[in-house]
C-alpha cells in the first residue's frame, strides 16, 4: 500500500504526541507530581498510531494498563489527560480513574484497564453492538502478550469468532509480562500462533514500523467492516522504560544491551529518516511539529497544575446513574 504524505504526517504526529505526553508524564512522576502507578508507552508508539490511524472516530477501542498511548492515538485531549494523571477535577475521569482508567467514550475509547486481559471481552461487546446496529463500525482490542495467558482473552477471542464479530485483536508483544520474559510464561514465540486456534487469520508485523502496522491494520479493519469477521495483528515491539515508572537501564530482568538495540529502532526517529529519505518531509518540518506539540504539552501541564482537585463531596457522585443505590 502507498500512503499519502498527509497520512504519513498524520501517523507521525500521533506518535510524537504519545512520546511527548509520556516523557512529560515520566518527568512529572520523577518529581512526585503524579500520584499512583505510571505505565509508560514509550517505544510502542507505532502500534497505537498505526492501528488508530486506520479507525474512524465512531469505531471503538479497549485498552490496557499501558493505555495513555491508545487514548492519544484515538485523539485524546492533552489537557484533560494530564489533569487526570494529576487527579484533578478537570481530568477525563474527574480524578476518579487516573492513569489506569483513562477513557473517552465520545472518542470510542472504552478505557484503559487495570486488570490484565479484561479489555478484550469488553471489545467483544462493543463489536457485538456494532454488528447489531449494522452501521459498519468496528472494535479493536489492544492487549499485551502477557494477557493472552489469561482466560478472559481466550473466552473473548473464541466468542468473537463464534459470533463472527467485526473486531481486530491488536497484540502489543513487548516480550515481557510485567517483569518476566515471554519465554518463561509461554511455550510459543509468536502470540499470533494462537489466532488459528480460534479460527481467525493473524499476521506478524514489525511493531517499530508504523507503516507496517498501519498497512496490516487497514486490511484487518476493512475485513471487519465488510463482515469478514475477526483477525489478529501481532506487533513485535518493546517498551523503553520499566513495566512501571521511569527507570530504563540497570533492570534485573533485561540487559542494557537489549534496550540499546531496541532503541536503535526507535519508531519515530526511524520513520522520520525514511520520510526525509523518500522526500516526503524535511528536518525543518519535524522541528516545527515537535516544537508545536511541545508547546501543547507545556499548556497541558500548566492547565493540570492550575486545575482544582475534586472536593470530598464528589466521592459518592457517579457510583450510579442516580444516587438511589447509596444507603
Amino acid at each position: 500500500m502507498d500512503f499519502s504524505s498527509a497520512k504519513q504526517f498524520d501517523l507521525h504526529r500521533r506518535m510524537v504526541r504519545i512520546r511527548l505526553f509520556e516523557e512529560a508524564a515520566g518527568r512529572l512522576a520523577e518529581s512526585n507530581k503524579l500520584p499512583g502507578f505510571l505505565h509508560l508507552y514509550v517505544g510502542e508508539e507505532a502500534v497505537a498510531s498505526g492501528v488508530c490511524g486506520a479507525l474512524n472516530d465512531d469505531d471503538h477501542i479497549t485498552s490496557t494498563h499501558r493505555g495513555h498511548g491508545h487514548l492519544v492515538a484515538k485523539g485524546g485531549d492533552f489537557n484533560r489527560m494530564m489533569a487526570e494523571l494529576m487527579g484533578k477535577s478537570t481530568g477525563y475521569c474527574k480524578g476518579k480513574g487516573g492513569s489506569m482508567h483513562i477513557s473517552d467514550t465520545s472518542l470510542g475509547m472504552l478505557g484503559a484497564n487495570g486488570i490484565v486481559g479484561a479489555g478484550s471481552p469488553i471489545a467483544v461487546g462493543a463489536a457485538f453492538a456494532n454488528k447489531y446496529r449494522g452501521k459498519g463500525q468496528v472494535a479493536v482490542a489492544f492487549f499485551g502478550d502477557g494477557s493472552t495467558n489469561i482466560g478472559a482473552f481466550h473466552e473473548a477471542a473464541n466468542m468473537a469468532c463464534a459470533l463472527h464479530l467485526p473486531i481486530v485483536f491488536a497484540c502489543e508483544n513487548n516480550e515481557y509480562g510485567e517483569f518476566t520474559p515471554r519465554d518463561k510464561t509461554m511455550a510459543i514465540t509468536d502470540v499470533v500462533d494462537r489466532a488459528a486456534g480460534y479460527g481467525m487469520p493473524g499476521v506478524i508485523v514489525d511493531g517499530m514500523d508504523v507503516i507496517a502496522v498501519h498497512e496490516a491494520a487497514v486490511e484487518a479493519v476493512e475485513r471487519a467492516r465488510q463482515g469478514g469477521g475477526p483477525s489478529m495483528i501481532e506487533a513485535k515491539t518493546y517498551r523503553f522504560y520499566n513495566h512501571h515508572g521511569v527507570q530504563n537501564l540497570g533492570l534485573k530482568y533485561r540487559s542494557d544491551e537489549e534496550v540499546a538495540i531496541w532503541k536503535q529502532r526507535d519508531p519515530i526517529f526511524t520513520f522520520e529518516d525514511r520520510m526525509i529519505e523518500n522526500g516526503v518531509a524535511t528536518r525543518a518540518n519535524f522541528d516545527d511539529i515537535w516544537a508545536e506539540l511541545r508547546a501543547d504539552i507545556e499548556t497541558a501541564i500548566q492547565f493540570a497544575e492550575d486545575s482544582p482537585y475534586p472536593t470530598p463531596d464528589q466521592i459518592m457522585v457517579n457510583v450510579y446513574t442516580s444516587m438511589t443505590g447509596a444507603n
Binding site: H101, S103, A152, E155, N158
Partner: protein
C-alpha cells in the same frame, strides 16, 4: 383481560423480557443454551423463535465473555440481558461483574452508562450440591455500582424484571430455582416495580420477619402457624437487596419492636447481618429483643436430600426464631 390470569414465576420472567424486547429494539439476550433450547430452566423459552437469532444469542460456555459482552454492548448503547445459568457461575465472571460492570461509570468520571441486566438462578433445594445451589447475593450487594434483585413471587418477578431492563445501571436479577413453578395472578400489561422499594407482604403488630426470595414464602407459612399461637407477624420482603429499603424495615421494627431476618444464604456475613446492624443503629431504643438471624450453617450446600433438607432454613426455622424472639422480655 382478566386480572386473574395466572403465570408461573418462570413465565412472568419470560413475559417481562418479551414485552421489553417488543418495546425497545436495543434490548437483546445472550447466554448459554437460551436460544432454541430456551434456557436450562425454560425461562427464555420461545424468545428466539419470536425475536430471531440476532436478538436471542446462544453463546459459548464463557461466563467472563458473556458478562464482558454485556459491558461492552451496554457502554456502547445497547440494553443487554446476559444470562449466567447458575448463580454459582458469577464466580467465574467476577472480574467482569465487580471490576468492570460495577465500576466503569465511576472510574470514567461518569462518562459511561451501563444499562445491562445480568440474570441468573440461585438457591438450593434441588440436590444440586455445592456448586449449583448457592445464595451469593451478599457478595454482590457489597459492590458499589451494582443493583441486586431477588423476587419472591410471579407478580414481583415481572415488575422487577421490567424495572431491571429499564434501569440505567448494571443490575443482577436472581431467580430462585425452587420458585420457578410457583403460579399466581400476573397482569398482562407491562408494569414496573421500583428498585429499592420493599413490600409489606403481611401486616402485623407483634414481630417483624424480614425475608426475601424463597424465604419470604416460608415466612408466610410460618406466620400462619404463629397466628394460631396468637403471634401476629409482619412480613417485609425487601425485593431489592441493593439498594435496600432500610426505611421500610426500620419503620416496621419501630412498630413491632422485635425482628427476625430470614435468608437462605450462609448466616455469617450475609444480608441478615447488614439488616440487623442497620436496625440496631437506627431503632436501638425501640427493640425489645436482639434482632435474630435465620440462615444456613457455615458449610457448603450438601448434596443428599437427607442433609440438604436440614441445611436450608424453612418455615419451621422461622417459627422457632420468632418464638425465641418473642420469649425475650
Amino acid at each position: 383481560m382478566s386480572d386473574d390470569r395466572k403465570l408461573t414465576y418462570a413465565q412472568a420472567f419470560n413475559e417481562a423480557v418479551s414485552q421489553m424486547m417488543e418495546a425497545d429494539p436495543d434490548v437483546f439476550c445472550a447466554g448459554e443454551d437460551i436460544g432454541a433450547f430456551g434456557g436450562v430452566f425454560g425461562t427464555f423459552a420461545g424468545l428466539q423463535a419470536k425475536f430471531g437469532e440476532k436478538r436471542v444469542v446462544d453463546t459459548p460456555i464463557s461466563e467472563q465473555a458473556i458478562v464482558g459482552l454485556g459491558v461492552g454492548a451496554s457502554v456502547t448503547g445497547l440494553r443487554p440481558i446476559v444470562d449466567l445459568m447458575f448463580m454459582d457461575f458469577i464466580c467465574v465472571a467476577f472480574d467482569q461483574i465487580v471490576n468492570q460492570a460495577a465500576k466503569l461509570k465511576y472510574m470514567f468520571g461518569g462518562d459511561a452508562t451501563l444499562p445491562m441486566t445480568i440474570t441468573t438462578a440461585g438457591g438450593g433445594g434441588l440436590s444440586a450440591a455445592a456448586q449449583h445451589s448457592q445464595s451469593l447475593e451478599a457478595l454482590l450487594c457489597h459492590i458499589p455500582g451494582l443493583k441486586v434483585v431477588m423476587p419472591s413471587n410471579p407478580y414481583d418477578m415481572k415488575g422487577l424484571m421490567i424495572s431491571c431492563i429499564k434501569e440505567n445501571n448494571p443490575t443482577v436479577m436472581i431467580k430462585h430455582k425452587r420458585l420457578l413453578g410457583m403460579s399466581a395472578p400476573v397482569p398482562t400489561e407491562a408494569y414496573g416495580i421500583p428498585l429499592g422499594k420493599g413490600n409489606i407482604i403481611r401486616p402485623g403488630k407483634d414481630v417483624t420477619i424480614v425475608a426475601y426470595a424463597r424465604m419470604a414464602n416460608e415466612a408466610i407459612i410460618a406466620a400462619k402457624e404463629l397466628a394460631e399461637e396468637g403471634i401476629d407477624c409482619e412480613i417485609i420482603d425487601p425485593r431489592t437487596l441493593q439498594p435496600l429499603d432500610t426505611d421500610l424495615i426500620v419503620d416496621s421494627a419501630k412498630k413491632t419492636n422485635r425482628v427476625v431476618v430470614a435468608q437462605e444464604a450462609v448466616r455469617f456475613g450475609g444480608l441478615g447481618a447488614e439488616i440487623a446492624s442497620q436496625i440496631q443503629e437506627l431503632a436501638f431504643d425501640y427493640l425489645d429483643a436482639p434482632v435474630s438471624r435465620i440462615g444456613a450453617p457455615f458449610s457448603p450446600v450438601p448434596f443428599s436430600p437427607a442433609l440438604e433438607s436440614h441445611y436450608i432454613p424453612d418455615a419451621k426455622s422461622i417459627v422457632k426464631g420468632v418464638r425465641d424472639v418473642m420469649a425475650r422480655r
